[in-house]
Amino acid sequence: MHLLTEPFEFAFFPYALWAGVFVGALCGALGVFVVLRRMSYIGQGLSQSVLGGVAPAVLSGIDPYLGAVAATIVAGLLINRVGRQHGVRPDAAIGIVSTVLFAFGVALVSANRDRAVNLNDLLFGNILGVDSSDITLVAATTAVLAIAGFVFWKPLTFTITDAAGASAHGIRAATVEAAFTIALAAAVVVSIRVVGVLLIAAVIVIPASTSRLFGRSLGPVVIAAAALGAAAAVVGMFVSFHVEIASGPAIVLASGAGFALALIASTLSSVLLVRRARAAHA
């Protein structure tokens, strides 16, 4: 039991744990819709784009967080718009928008070598730097998006599974898609602190994919993905504390291990089903 209680002797740990849980649950739940829209790399794209806002903010003395928020939302809307264009697939839209914004950020940083811009926290996350105001932000974002998800569950699920059908049935599908992209951008921004830019796609895609291996209905799949995301965060935080590896990779590794186990279980169960059917029809 010492393994579980020891971390709490450090003041930062409960903060970090809660932040991880909220980020894991939020990104996990949103990830289901992302995966269904075949935009698995949108999280990665949005988070890369962040640099395009953080760099100019830092250089002009504005709060980098504001720069990050602005860049992510602009990137999300651009990806949404470009991906809609005839001849551009969503995955290409993600690639174009995010790399151009990233390049813009890198260009600014390289032009201002004399002024140190520390990108380490941005790239890898710095859970040790999480304080109570960060927790409030992450928790509030999670709460707002959870409520929005409840209220708009019907148009959201219709649009994500069949956008053309939804607009023919009186749903403003384009508005729903844009709103979803903004929600995702908000989730990415609040998550960067914890997992960093480089690993954000993982917290979005892995829990959702694990949950989809078994789920046959959208509601339970979303809830399970949120739970898996939160669980991976908890496991990752404890491992990170004891093994002394960075929290972001620890969370992703825990999530990946969960996916691997689920994959094995799902493979075994289909093998068993085939065997049983063969036996029944032998």
């Binding site: 998800g149 569950w153 049935h169 009186g170 209905s217």
Partner: protein
């Protein structure tokens, strides 16, 4: 005459500046059952999309329930069955939930559907021969079953207008007859129905009114008047032979010894 439920007045519509239908005038009265026929690419789907606001309108007006349709704005009070595009087998969406999507715009309860709404979805699935499939993921249904599911989705809101894009293509004869029977029943109960088809013999000939289209409207009226060799040649650009047997009209190709009476595609 009462005012039409759906009216096209001089409508030219298409995609990215290129018209797919031109100068279409078409008035549909409440309670009608109308078939739109024409070869592939003749603009049948575009005609329906002009009503759902999902194509660009370059000239003329589409009026639905006395309100002008604007591209990109959602329409109310329509049930729509899109041309069938099979969904991925692993889509996590159960059949009953897919049917309930037909109520997404009008249902007020948050976030779940009411018991009464769920019961209605089950009843519709049963009526469409999908009893017991409520909890089946939609991707695990066959093509014909998915087609019937989409019909249930279009019917659940009791919309006064139901539009169907090729509801009978790719379904077996039994399903085809079930669907036509159901549409007939729905129409008798007062629903206005517009469907597209390229099936002249099984579908078009059995409808009270058909509209032949090939970018422009070629003919509009009862099958007995419209289904002539001359009209169909202008619609399909292929020569055909019409065989009349009392009330039945049969379209075949005009090659000698042609045994096939299959649809002109």
């Amino acid at each position: 005459m009462s005012s039409p439920i759906l009216a096209f007045d001089g409508v030219t519509a298409g995609y990215r500046g290129k018209p797919a239908i031109e100068a279409v005038d078409l008035h549909i009265q409440p309670g009608e059952l109308v078939g739109i026929v024409g070869p592939s690419g003749s603009g049948k789907s575009t005609l329906l999309r002009a009503v759902t606001g999902t194509t660009d309108i370059y000239a003329g007006t589409v009026t639905l329930h006395d309100r002008r349709v604007r591209a990109g704005h959602p329409t109310r009070d329509i049930g729509f069955v899109p041309q069938l595009a099979l969904v991925e087998p692993d889509t996590p969406l159960r059949a009953a939930d897919a049917v309930l999507h037909g109520l997404a715009a009008s249902s007020r309860r948050v976030p779940w559907y009411s018991k009464a709404e769920r019961a209605k979805a089950s009843a519709l699935l049963e009526r469409l021969g999908l009893a017991g499939y409520e909890r089946q993921p939609i991707g695990e249904l066959s093509g014909g079953q998915q087609q019937r599911l989409l019909l249930a989705r279009a019917m659940i809101a009791d919309s006064s207008l139901v539009m169907l894009d090729e509801p009978t293509s790719g379904v077996d004869l039994q399903t085809l007859q079930d669907i036509l029977g159901l549409l007939d029943e729905l129409n008798r109960a007062g629903t206005t129905i517009v469907l597209t088809t390229h099936d002249l013999n099984w579908v078009a000939a059995s409808l009270p009114r058909i509209v032949c289209i090939n970018q422009r409207i070629v003919a509009d009226g009862a099958p007995a008047d419209v289904m002539t060799a001359e009209v169909l040649e202008r619609t399909y650009g292929a020569s055909v032979r019409i065989v009349r047997d009392g009330d039945r009209i049969l379209v075949t190709d005009d090659r000698p010894h042609a045994a096939s009476t299959s649809e002109a595609r």
